[in-house]
């Protein structure tokens, strides 16, 4: 049993319950939310109770990050559940969907037990593991969606890989339809993107790096949505990078039900940031043009894009201190996800509600989990945020075990000051 906590004078934003008001939050002795909103104030809190006055700071539901790579099992030197959860907490993330691209790959029931146990014992946040769509993520034989789901797998994805074979994809969608499984596709035609490293265009030509055409993304989206026309299932595009994808998805959403995500990197950076071969900005999908970035922001604004993810991909320094061609792909980002997203609020690109919705209630809805909200009676997973606090991203201050941030030295505005999981304060600035 913990002590009951009373927070007052907070800007409470909970898109799930359409709460956007100054008020308070009461966390009960068992770590559940007892009350929330403007009705929680000093007038109805017993005078003997100690209240915490947040003086206008924000309370958001704990973030739900739909795309996180953890090194466990196999790459513990990059990130383990303990370091991941500490990094997540410092960024206000209380629920993370982990990718199956580990060693071994999460593709069978026996390894799920290990994963759930490690996640439960070592992680302080809620871990929702995915399994691969196909055995070994090889794109040929599908995994046991039903059995894996019954063991607690939240959804299926080949992570960094895409199902290239259309027939296999159709069969996967049929099974997903039968079993109500969530399919998350990384959209990339590997023949078109072969040897590609950055966006195809002037920068790639100038740097002499093989480009990845936006066609590679569009073709898979077009194909999958054509299939979805015939085979209704829970289909989610993990992350898009091209402005043309936004147009295509906006168009298709008129008649089809599916969802779509975007990495905060693609929302905040563009190909120019690669500069003089910065390997920390070698990402998949690649950073594209400023026009693409602006279109992605627009996609969030008009709800064509549902979710913002960190695409947190820890890589140790050795994998990045190489030539661009040899360097590993990916950047960490779980601890800067919210702060970097807030940049879009401060520069008036997006409303705060749009951003928080894409980080909390929207992913929860797609995943069908009761997270990312401040429902009374639910686990008190939330964060307290000073949305104006300035800070500078420094590798040495990052908590994640790997330091490959895409935004080293970036000045950000807005920082999580406290994070609670099940009512317990697990992070304090």
């Amino acid at each position: 049993m913990m002590k009951k906590k009373y927070f007052i004078n907070a800007n409470i934003l909970d898109p799930h319950n359409s709460i956007d008001e100054v008020g308070g939050l009461i966390v009960g002795e068992t770590g559940l939310i007892e009350a929330v909103g403007k009705k929680v104030n000093t007038n109805n809190i017993p005078a003997r109770e100690k209240v915490i006055d947040l003086k206008g700071k924000h309370i958001f539901p704990g973030l739900v990050d739909m795309r996180v790579f953890v090194g466990e099992p196999g790459y513990e030197y990059k990130e383990n559940f303990r370091t991941l959860s500490n990094a997540a907490l410092s960024g206000g993330v209380t629920s993370a969907v982990t990718m199956p691209n580990t060693d071994p790959i999460i593709d069978n029931v026996s390894i799920v037990d290990f994963l759930k146990r490690r996640g439960r014992d070592k992680s302080k946040i809620n871990i929702f593991p995915t399994a691969s769509l196909t055995k070994g993520s090889e794109g040929t034989n599908m995994t046991e969606f039903g059995l894996l789901q019954s063991k607690g797998i939240i959804g299926f994805t080949d992570g960094t890989k895409t199902i290239q074979n259309t027939r296999v994809m159709a069969r996967i969608m049929n099974s997903a339809s039968d079993l109500d499984s969530l399919i998350m596709q990384h959209a990339e035609d590997f023949e078109l993107s072969k040897d590609g490293m950055i966006n195809e265009g002037i920068i790639a030509t100038k740097l002499g790096l093989q480009g990845i055409p936006e066609m590679a993304e569009l073709i898979i989206i077009e194909r999958d949505l054509t299939l979805l026309n015939y085979i209704k299932c829970r289909y989610h595009i993990s992350q898009i990078s091209s402005g043309k994808s936004v147009d295509l998805i906006r168009d298709k959403k008129e008649n089809l039900k599916f969802s779509c995500g975007v990495s905060i990197n693609n929302l905040s950076l563009n190909e120019n940031d690669i500069g003089d071969f910065k390997t920390f900005l070698k990402l998949s999908p690649p950073l594209r043009t400023e026009e693409d970035r602006v279109n992605l922001v627009q996609g969030l604004k008009d709800e064509t894009i549902d979710v913002i993810v960190s695409d947190h991909k820890p890589e140790d320094e050795e994998q990045k201190r190489l030539t661009f061609a040899q360097a590993a792909t990916g950047a960490t980002g779980i601890e800067t996800l919210l702060s970097l997203s807030l940049e879009l609020y401060h520069n008036e690109s997006l409303k705060l509600n749009t951003i928080i919705k894409a980080l909390t209630s929207n992913p929860a809805k797609i995943l069908k989990i009761d997270k990312g909200n401040l429902n009374v009676g639910n686990d008190a997973d939330f964060c307290i945020v000073d949305v104006n606090k300035p800070w500078i991203v420094k590798q040495e201050n990052l908590i994640s075990k790997s330091k490959n941030t895409s935004i080293e030295n970036k000045k950000l505005q807005g920082k999580v000051t406290n994070t609670f999981v099940k009512g317990e304060e697990l992070f304090k600035l």
Partner: protein, 312 residues
């Protein structure tokens, strides 16, 4: 050159690409190289300008002419030249480029010449060593000394670059020579045409300020210079092109296609040539038009100039 900006000092510590150079940097190198042309033809070719200096050639890709050219250039200036044989080195045993750089750096070289299959490898190396780094070709990015020797060859023949019309033809997509030449020739005031099948044309290349052609006859029309690029054999196997004979038919330099260029047009090729694929063998050997041998000869002078300037 019509207008000349005189410089006495190079603006860069390293020679990584033409992109980083200013017009006065380029003129400094070209002027310096001119002084070595006659020396290279004389009986006693040895100078002691770089006496006591150490030059390391680090070639990760096989190269005959560039490596020997750099080696000769260093020796003629009196430097101690060491050429690393990569096939026997620790790199084959898994050492990273940065570790190799650290190791070499500890031996206090004055200049490192690097050729690497990855674009940007020379940039990475230059961040990790104390000495000057000369790029002898990195991936598909740049080959600055090739462009400089091409410019010197053109000046030698045409007495200028400003106002010339120059066609660069062939596998532009994979060519660092093309990229460096586009930067340099544009900088020196030439009009540059790029000729290639679309499959071998890099995306957005027109933004470099060049005219783009997929029809070779149109591309070489009224040109003063036709610069051919080497076509690598593996381009046939990966569906970039259908066959050698079709490529020769449409993009090989033949007397017929050359007739569209100016009468006094000269032909250039960075070598090694694929006779009968990108160039007609008789044209390749026509010493009135083909300046291929001159390019090799002046290459040594250019590399001597670069070694001297960047060693200082």
């Amino acid at each position: 050159m019509a207008t000349k900006t005189k410089a006495v000092k190079i603006s860069q510590k390293h020679l990584l690409g033409i992109q980083d150079l200013s017009v006065s940097d380029v003129n400094l190198i070209l002027d310096e190289a001119s002084t070595f042309i006659d020396l290279n033809k004389s009986k006693n070719k040895k100078l002691d300008i770089l006496k006591g200096k150490t030059q390391i050639n680090l070639f990760f890709e096989p190269s005959t002419r560039t490596q020997s050219s750099f080696e000769l250039a260093g020796k003629r200036l009196g430097a101690d030249v060491m050429s690393m044989n990569i096939t026997n080195s620790a790199i084959k045993k898994g050492e990273t480029l940065i570790d190799t750089a650290m190791t070499l750096n500890a031996m206090h070289p004055d200049i490192i010449v690097i050729r690497h299959q990855d674009s940007g490898a020379c940039n990475l190396l230059s961040q990790k060593v104390n000495c000057a780094v000369l790029n002898a070709g990195d991936g598909k990015r740049e080959h600055p000394t090739q462009a400089l020797l091409d410019a010197l060859t053109i000046i030698n023949r045409k007495k200028k670059i400003q106002g010339l019309k120059i066609a660069i033809c062939g596998d532009i997509l994979h060519s660092r020579v093309a990229r460096s030449n586009i930067y340099l020739l544009n900088m020196l005031g030439a009009e540059v045409n790029i000729v290639a099948p679309t499959n071998l044309m890099p995306k957005d290349i027109e933004k470099f300020g060049v005219n783009v052609f997929s029809d070779m006859k149109k591309g070489v029309k009224d040109c003063d210079i036709v610069m051919m690029l080497r076509l690598q054999n593996e381009r046939m196997t990966s569906s970039f092109l259908s066959s050698n004979r079709e490529y020769y038919e449409y993009y090989g330099l033949t007397p017929d296609k050359l007739s569209y260029a100016k009468k006094d047009c000269i032909i250039m090729h960075p070598g090694p040539m694929n006779r009968g694929i990108e160039i007609d063998t008789k044209l390749a050997d026509d010493t009135n038009m083909s300046v291929v041998k001159e390019q090799v000869e002046l290459g040594v002078a250019i590399r001597m100039a670069c070694l001297k300037i960047f060693c200082e």
